[in-house]
Symmetry: C2
C-alpha cells in the first residue's frame, strides 16, 4: 500500500527496512470520493498528503465568490497548506478530490517524532521542498509573463497528463483564463 | 561576520562550536555594490545567498521587455534561483542589489559535502524551505485574489520595512500595478 511512497523516498535517500517499517507505522491512508475534501477553508491543516492514486485540486473562494484553483496534485505529489500546517492557523484553502483518490496521511502531530527517529527524512523533504520552491518561482513568473494562450501551451507540454485528466473549466481556473477562452485555444 | 547566519540557524537547530566552525570554513562572503548583480539571466545559479545587510531584487525581463520583480530579499533571507540551482540550467532571472549589500555565499559545489558532514543542516533548510512554500502559496493566492490596492495594504502591514526601503517603481512592479496607480494609493 505504501510502496509508491517508499519508492519515491528511495529516489532521494536510502532507508533501510527497519526505517521503512518505522515510518509506515506512523502513516495512514485515506480514500476520498470524487468531490470529497481533505481540507476545507477555516480548518487547521491536519497533515501533509502524498497522492497514491487520483487527482486533487487546491483552491480558494475569491472575494467575488468564484473558485480559484492554485494547484493540482496527482500521483507522487505531496500536498498541504504549508501556512496552516506551520502556524496552526485556519486554512484559506480547500483541497478537494476531482477523481476517486487515495492518499498517504502524514499527520502533523507525528511529524516531529518521525523526523527525530528517522533524520534521513529531513533530507527527503528538504529536496522535495526545494523542488517545490523551483516550481513556485516559475509559477509566479509565468503568471506575470505569459499570455493565457502561452500558459496553456506551456502546461500542455510540461504536464500533458494534467491536461487530459482535469475538466476544462478547472484548467481554465488554474490558468487564470475564462473557460470560453480556453475552449477557443484548444480548438485551434 | 557570519554571526547573523549562525544566529538564524540557531533558531531552528543547535549546532555545536565545531559544527559552526566547519560550516563557516565552507562559506564565503561577497559584497555587491548598488545595482551590482549576484546572478544574471543565462548564467547557472552558482550558490544560495543569505543576506547579511542590504536589499536585493529578483526579476526577469518579460517578453514585452519590461522588468518584472518577483521577489525582494533583505537581512536574514535566503535567495537563489532554485530551478537553476537544482538542474544546472541557465537562469531566467537577475538578482540585483538595490542597496549596498553583503551576502553569505553557500556555493552549490560544496552544498552536498556540507550536508554530509553536518546533517542537522538538512533540517534547517527543510524548515526554511517549508516557510518559503507557505509564502509562495500565499503569493499565488494574492496575485489571483487581491486588487492592486489590497495587495499594497497587505504588503504594508506584513512587511513595513520593505515599503520604506524599496523605490516606489520597484514596489509597483512587485505588486503588478503601474507606478502611477501605486502613487495614487499611497497618497490616499
Amino acid at each position: 500500500m505504501y510502496a509508491p511512497l517508499l519508492a519515491h523516498i528511495a529516489r532521494y535517500v536510502a532507508l533501510n527496512t527497519a526505517e521503512e517499517e518505522l515510518l509506515v507505522s506512523y502513516l495512514q491512508t485515506q480514500t476520498v470520493a470524487r468531490k470529497g475534501f481533505l481540507l476545507t477553508q477555516g480548518q487547521i491543516c491536519p497533515a501533509s498528503y502524498f497522492v497514491l492514486r487520483g487527482c486533487l485540486r487546491t483552491y480558494f473562494v475569491s472575494e467575488k465568490g468564484t473558485e480559484q484553483i492554485i494547484q493540482f496534485s496527482i500521483e507522487n505529489w505531496w500536498v498541504a497548506d504549508y501556512t496552516s500546517l506551520d502556524t496552526r492557523t485556519p486554512s484559506a484553502y480547500y483541497i478537494q478530490a476531482i477523481e476517486p483518490t487515495e492518499v498517504v496521511v502524514f499527520d502533523q502531530r507525528v511529524q516531529e517524532e518521525v523526523f527525530r527517529q528517522i533524520p534521513k527524512l529531513e533530507r527527503y523533504f528538504r529536496l522535495i521542498l526545494q523542488r517545490l520552491a523551483a516550481v513556485n518561482q516559475f509559477r509566479v513568473k509565468y503568471l506575470f509573463d505569459l499570455s493565457g494562450e502561452a500558459r496553456y501551451h506551456h502546461i500542455q507540454s510540461m504536464l500533458p497528463a494534467f491536461v487530459q485528466r482535469v475538466p476544462q473549466y478547472m484548467l481554465a481556473s488554474y490558468l487564470g483564463v475564462t473557460p470560453e477562452f480556453l475552449s477557443k485555444i484548444r480548438s485551434k
